[in-house]
């Protein structure tokens, strides 16, 4: 039942990355097979893949909801779905995407697979907790979606579940309870993932892998883990109180019993805004891995990148009430300056990504195209977000399609980041390449579709169209803009179909990837594809944040801009230390 895990000894001899394949049969798995293997596995790679696949299925389900919503909005008086069905659809679209796709995909899917490999660890720190957290996530997802099967339908109060609309009186029915309970399950699942990430990164790094030699993806996942631990317990507590209000007769969020409905918004957004960064940071990490590899350069401003990530973590807990400016009951200047300030570290990241490509040799692979698409879309989403940090501007854009367009720019950028990650790491995970041609066609559908989808929505929001409306006033310009938005949504839908085609095609016609198809920088490219049980048969020496690159290209180590001065200084320093 138990494996004794040994760290491999370094192979500093040999110039060939392809070591270890011939000895891999020593590490063949013995134990359960078939479905029992899936049910009992505590291997982070199996769990990571389960997470990735499950969350992608959730993305497709959530995307299908979105397509129905866009179809409904093509005409102002459409009755494709009824009002109550429409309310259920956008609630579940938001809930599935936020709670079941974007977060779990990043901080539990890719992170689970990659973090131990990137830091040279054999597994996550708590493998059984890791498996437990996946099963909680899966059952939570089933719980949430089963809302459609019960009488009264799924939850229909928006993914934010504002009190008192979410009270027993205003939203009776089991759908709402299923929603709450699903969030309890997935919330705990996220907390356990956070514990695992932080513990793994703190305690299982390979020798020489100091914190400032960790890949940026690992750094971002560490900060994500910390933010999960700070934010998710608050949401869980809020949900338990909501459940008590609904079933045990407490009056925490109801005026009638002396409660305060506003409390829910405080609690929800105290989780909700760090959550935005919990969602975003992993994808920042993904593209920060991809830009350097396909520019054949180290990431520009590594230390600045880490500093920016930590600054985002610090500020992200002080911005929650910018979602509540229009309540008229929050301190406007405090949240305004905090929200504006958080643009600064985000801007640093943006410039560092550009700086990474600058002067490099940029290869247009699908993963890189997706990352570039991320960069552009995130620039749009980021800049339009700055407007919302200003209370007077938030007053007239709040709860309109402007806000919807803003965060869809952001999350569609994250989706591009997710796909970039899949195209980048699929060879490592499966041992086979994804088809680049289909991937590039998919990228163009996704990229054009995203812009076509968000730009009209910005405008229709500024023209005064509120969100979450099943029908809207008969107004030619609103209708035209909504039609364009729906065309964009269809293109995005086609791109997702192309993605599925690509997955099936690459599966049926496998092209062997080899251990290091992209000339990667970090440790995962040093091991086999897919990695053996417990990940490594040998490890290279770790002298920087890109050990595999240093091993393969010992003559091309990272340098500072004024590296000659630097070299003189370090020569002096080493001379001094020799003397002492």
């Amino acid at each position: 039942m138990t494996d004794l895990i040994e760290r491999p000894v370094s192979t500093s001899d040999g110039d060939n990355v392809d070591h270890g394949t011939e000895t891999s049969h020593h590490h063949d798995h013995h134990g359960p097979t078939g479905i029992m293997k899936w049910l009992t596995s505590t291997d982070h790679k199996v769990i990571g893949l389960s997470y990735t696949v499950t969350s992608l299925i959730m993305m497709i389900i959530g995307g299908a909801f979105a397509e129905i919503i866009r179809a409904q909005l093509v005409s102002p008086t459409s009755n494709l779905v009824s009002f109550s069905q429409y309310n259920e659809l956008f609630t579940m679209h938001g809930s599935v995407m936020i709670y079941l796709f974007v977060g779990p995909f990043a901080f539990a899917g890719l992170a689970n697979y990659l973090i131990p490999i990137q830091i040279g660890a054999p597994d996550m720190a708590f493998p059984r907790l890791n498996a437990f957290s996946y099963w909680l996530y899966l059952t939570g997802s089933i719980t949430m979606l089963s809302g459609f099967l019960v009488g009264g339908g799924a939850a229909n109060f928006g993914w934010v579940g504002y009190a008192p609309l979410s009270s027993a009186a205003n939203s009776p029915g089991t759908g709402a309870d299923l929603w709450i309970c699903a969030l309890l399950l997935t919330g705990f699942s996220a907390i356990f993932s956070g514990v695992n990430l932080v513990a793994t990164i703190f305690y299982l790094r390979a020798p020489g892998m100091t914190l400032f030699r960790m890949p940026i993806f690992t750094w971002n996942m560490l900060v994500t883990g910390i933010l999960i631990l700070l934010a998710f317990p608050v949401l869980t507590a809020g949900l338990i109180m909501l459940y008590c209000d609904r079933h045990f007769g407490t009056h925490i969020y109801t005026v009638q019993g002396g409660g305060v409905p506003l409390l829910w918004q405080h609690i929800f957004w105290f989780w909700g805004h760090p959550e935005v960064y919990i969602l975003a940071l992993p994808f920042f990490g993904i593209v920060t891995e991809i830009f350097p590899v396909f520019s054949k350069k180290p990431v520009f401003g590594y230390r600045g990148m880490v500093f920016a990530t930590l600054t985002i973590a610090a500020l992200s807990l002080g911005v929650w009430a910018h979602h509540m400016f229009t309540t008229g009951a929050v301190l406007l200047p405090f949240f305004s300056i905090m929200s504006l300030l958080i643009a600064v570290p985000t801007g640093i990241k943006m410039f560092n990504w550009i700086g990474t490509m600058w002067g490099g040799k940029v290869h247009y692979s699908t993963a890189m195209l997706m990352s570039m698409g991320f960069l552009f879309t995130f620039l749009i989403g980021g800049i339009t977000g700055i407007f919302l940090a200003s209370p007077p501007l938030d007053f007239f854009t709040h709860d309109t399609y402007y806000v919807v367009a803003h965060f869809h720019s952001v999350v569609m950028a994250l989706v591009m980041g997710a796909l970039a990650g899949i195209y980048f790491w699929a060879p490592k995970m499966t041992g086979h390449m994804m088809h680049e041609g289909i991937g590039k066609i998919q990228f163009w559908f996704l990229f054009i579709g995203t812009q076509l989808f968000t730009f009209p929505l910005y405008l229709v929001g500024l023209h005064g169209m509120p969100r979450r409306m099943a029908n809207y006033p008969i107004n030619p310009s609103w209708q035209t803009l909504n039609e364009w938005g729906s065309v964009g949504a269809i293109l995005i839908g086609i791109s997702m179909v192309l993605f599925l085609v690509n997955v099936i095609y690459s599966w049926k016609k496998p092209v062997v990837a080899g251990d290091n198809p992209w000339d990667g920088h970090t440790l995962e490219w040093f091991t086999t594809s897919p990695p053996p049980s417990h990940n490594f048969l040998s490890l290279p020496p770790i002298h920087s944040e890109r050990p595999t690159w240093d091993y393969n290209h010992p003559d091309h180590l990272a340098i500072e801009h004024n590296h000659k001065k630097q070299a003189k200084k370090s020569a002096k320093a080493s001379a001094a230390s020799d003397a002492s």
Partner: protein
């Protein structure tokens, strides 16, 4: 733009002597642009010009933010496009110079944004203080939101306007006067949103929200609930009718003299809603005569 490009390019070359001056110029440009251009004729960037005093200042702030965003975003975008296209690899194997740090450049794009943010914050605070300011009111309107409609009452007068779903009630208010709105909700959270006033505020149970409008244009303005409030949120329209003080007074007097209550709740609307298709979405029927 060129300056910033060259500034970024200096990551490649040695630190050019002119770079501090370029940075200063870029900084001055970024901060001064919204202020300088604020006086000129600027496009609306998609938003309403606004028909109240505060809506006008909000609109100006919106323009300032947009100019800043276009300058900063444009520079970033140009740098991005340049980096993507100018450095496209021509062969598979060659390895570029492995530059990782350029501390002066990194500090530049940390410090300049901080100044921009402080500028934006200062402008925000000025406008925000105008928007949330509550001068002595010339008239008061009590607005109560409920599922799914609005009720407008005028303290000291008998006038009451109520309407729900397909009827859109009309809030009558005088022009060029400080009108104090007392906003309440009887059940869940609603959003009181008048697009052309460039303003919205939640109507919340157990919480009184007050704010002042000073409309500087007469006319009828569409308005709507923005915060999801349940099944018929989609249909929670109302309208605002801004009239001259004389007309407003005449309307109030007429209501005071009238013996019939203005509370009308259309029973048909509920029936119409059942089959969704028959809903007149554009609020054509209105309740209350709207002082025309």
């Amino acid at each position: 733009m060129e300056e910033t490009l060259s500034q970024l390019e200096s990551a490649q070359e040695s630190v050019a002597d002119r770079s501090p001056r370029t940075k200063k110029r870029a900084l001055a440009l970024a901060i001064a642009a919204p202020l300088l251009l604020g006086g000129c004729e600027l496009p609306s960037f998609g938003a309403f010009h606004g028909v109240t005093k505060t809506a006008n200042s909000t609109f100006k702030l919106w323009q300032g933010f947009n100019v800043t965003a276009i300058v900063v975003g444009g520079i970033t975008l140009l740098a991005m496009i340049w980096a993507i296209f100018a450095y496209r690899a021509k062969d598979k194997t060659s390895i570029p110079k492995q530059t990782q740090y350029h501390i002066p450049l990194e500090l530049t794009y940390t410090i300049i944004p901080i100044f921009i943010v402080i500028g934006l914050f200062a402008a925000t605070v000025v406008v925000e203080n105008q928007v949330v300011d509550e001068p002595a009111p010339n008239a008061t309107i009590n607005v109560t939101a409920f599922q799914w409609g609005w009720k407008f009452t005028y303290p000291g007068h008998k006038a009451v306007v109520v309407g729900q779903t397909t009827q859109s009630p009309i809030m009558v208010m005088p022009e060029n006067k400080n009108v104090l709105i007392n906003l309440r909700s009887t059940d869940v959270i609603h959003g009181f949103y008048v697009p052309e006033f460039n303003f919205s505020r939640y109507a919340q149970p157990g919480l009184l929200n007050t704010f002042t409008f000073n409309a500087n244009k007469t006319g009828m303005f569409d308005a709507q609930c923005t915060q999801l409030c349940g099944l018929y949120h989609t249909l929670m329209y109302f309208r605002v009718n801004v009239v001259s003080q004389a007309k407003f007074d005449a309307w109030l007097r007429a209501k005071d003299a009238s013996t019939t209550q203005q509370e009308v709740i259309d029973a048909n609307s509920a029936i119409a809603l059942e089959n969704n298709a028959g809903v007149a979405v554009n609020p054509t029927k209105s309740n209350g005569d709207g002082a025309n």
